[in-house]
Amino acid sequence: MELLGLYHYWVFAILLMIGFYAVIAKLNLVKKLIGLSLFQSAVFLLYITMGKVELGTAPIFSDSGSGIFSNPLPQVLILTAIVVGISTTALGLGIVVRIKEEYGSIEEDEIQEIDRR
């Protein structure tokens, strides 16, 4: 059962690989960016799950409550990483828009074909 007990790592690894596959295999530039977002989201989940403590609550300090908290630091880190991820996606989509304007296509093979001419 150990294998199932580590299911959050499985989610991380599978999601990571789906994203990675899309980045490599898809020719459509927007689909590549979707893959990249998935790839990054998988890492966010890795960070979030590592901070979880069994029976732990939200890390708000008070006199009542159990006194067991999830580790807040990974959550803070990943807040920053999410912002980075959004900026990357936004910039990537901006570049795709420019590519569409210049080349009239967002398919990688067609763009390479145009450049070769």
Binding site: F20, V23, F39, M50, P74, V84, T88, L91, D115
Partner: protein
């Protein structure tokens, strides 16, 4: 000045970052360039002052908001960081001063404020990577500098820059995310992000699988960002189609900063705490470094576009730096680190000269550059001197690093002779590709007698000459980079038995 002195490590990042926000508002012509250059010059002055302090009294540490180290954010400038700060800030200020005309030609006036804001952000990010002393801040600064440099590369008039920058974005993000996974795994095992603290706490768990996986993720991710062969595929197109001045800036420092983080992690954190790390590091990276040296040089020999040719030469030069590091000896690492400095000088001067040719020539393909040396003898002179330095002729900076690299390789015994042979073969290949350009430029017939619509600004030629002469100066008296590099190598390899 004295009141500010303790805050210099923070100001190194804060000055360009704050000015970048102001630069966007500077609409009047030329003002954005002026503000950007001034901020960059100030950052360079800070870097010089920090280097001075490091040389006089050892590493400088700075606690953000005075929170003590493993809990608060620490900035740290030691000999290696000081050398990198000199390279990054020097490259930026030199390029900006030289690049006024070239940037005016390539970047539309209404977009210039944004362009210079992105430039300063890239500078702030690169400087931030170098001064940061904790793993997560390095990631954030890495992304700041990467995002800004994607904008810079895509900023030019050449539309082929767009697919190139898209590829750069995908691969850069994958590299950075790999790094983030590695940092996460280490955090999971040690509970710390501060590099010095991590180095102590990792000892207890050095044999656990997550740490080994983390070492793999971090090394591969950073190798991708540092364009170490075979992970270099994003580099040639990005360098070729970027605005010329961006190529000068990025070629001089961007990949080297990722290399810096790689050295910092693999030697400062992992070396000495992971069993067999030194052997594995050498076993994986030395063959890649050698292949990079040979294939990069070989492709450069047959390349027809001058910028692309020099970009492939950069792949080979990164191989030299990695080769030095993969020897895992003080002498080897010193040679690798000093080559970071010397290669920045040589490649910087070469790309500055190329930018000067580009102002006049129809394109940078070799057939369009025929006979250009007779029209632009001064630029050509700077190009030749820098080319000699790239090859490694005695009396130039390039010779110093190759000499130390060969000396370090010889210490390996008989096996080292193979390395020496490869270094010599690759230097001969460099002779070939530099000579091909020189031959076309000097002896070639002008392709068409198109009269040059513009004359190259004397500032660009002057700066190209200054950097070319710096190659000779640091070839004759290499004390400054050598001192910093050997101190850095000694600190990185302090666990070596």
């Amino acid at each position: 000045m004295n009141a500010l002195a303790p805050h210099l490590p923070a100001l190194q990042v804060v000055v360009p970052m704050l000015v970048s926000a102001v630069v966007i508002l500077l609409r009047p012509r030329g003002l954005a360039w002026m503000a950007c250059t001034a901020a960059s010059a100030m950052a360079f002055a800070i870097a010089i002052q920090l280097t001075h302090t490091v040389l006089a009294s050892g590493p400088v540490t700075y606690l953000m908001g005075s929170w003590p180290a493993p809990y608060g954010i620490e900035l740290r400038v030691d000999a290696l960081s000081a050398l990198m700060l000199l390279v990054v800030n020097g490259a930026s200020v030199v390029t900006l001063i030289a690049g006024r005309q070239s940037l005016d030609l390539q970047i539309e006036e209404n977009r210039q404020p944004y362009f210079f804001a992105a430039w300063l952000l890239a500078l702030a990010g690169l400087a931030g990577i170098v001064v940061a002393a904790d793993a997560f801040n390095i990631f954030v600064f890495m992304e700041i500098s990467s995002l800004a440099s994607y904008v810079l590369v895509a900023g030019g008039p050449d539309r082929r820059a767009l697919p190139a920058v898209f590829k750069y974005l995908l691969m850069g993000t994958i590299g950075a995310t790999f790094y983030l996974i590695g940092v996460g795994l280490i955090y999971m095992m040690t509970g710390t992000l501060n590099l010095a603290d991590m180095e102590v706490l990792i000892q207890a768990v050095g044999d656990q699988r997550p740490i080994l996986a983390a070492a793999g993720f971090i090394t591969v991710g950073l190798a991708l960002k540092a364009a170490i062969f075979p992970l270099h595929v994003w580099l040639p197109n990005a360098y070729t189609y970027a605005p010329h001045m961006v190529t000068v800036f990025l070629a001089a420092c961007a990949t080297k900063v990722s290399l810096y983080v790689l050295l910092r992690f693999d030697f400062f954190v992992f070396q000495g705490n992971l069993e067999g790390h030194a052997i594995q590091f050498a076993a994986y990276l030395m063959p890649l470094a050698l292949l990079g040296i040979l294939i990069g040089s070989a492709v450069a020999m047959f390349e027809k576009n001058v910028k692309r040719l020099l970009a492939f030469s950069s792949v080979a030069q990164i191989g030299y730096m990695m080769l030095g590091a993969s020897l895992v000896t003080i002498a080897g690492l010193t040679a690798g680190i000093v080559h970071i400095f010397n290669h920045a000088l040589a490649k910087g001067a070469l790309f500055l000269a190329v930018a000067s040719f580009a102002t006049v020539a129809a394109s940078l393909r070799l057939e369009d550059l025929g006979g250009i040396a007779r029209r632009m003898p001064w630029t050509f002179g700077a190009f030749v001197i820098a080319g000699l330095s790239l090859i490694g002729i005695p009396g130039t900076a390039g010779f110093i690093s190759k000499w130390y690299l060969i000396t370090a390789a010889m210490q390996l015994g008989p096996g080292g002779l193979v390395l020496v042979a490869i270094i010599l073969i690759s230097s001969l290949m460099a002779v070939v590709y530099i000579w091909r350009i020189v031959e076309v430029m000097w002896f070639g017939e002008p392709a068409n007698e198109a009269t040059a619509p513009v004359t190259v600004s004397p500032l660009l030629v002057g700066v190209a000459w200054t950097v070319a002469l710096a190659n000779i100066y640091f070839g004759l008296s290499p004390d400054l980079p050598m001192t910093l590099a050997s101190e850095a190598a000694a600190e990185l390899l302090r666990h070596l038995p």
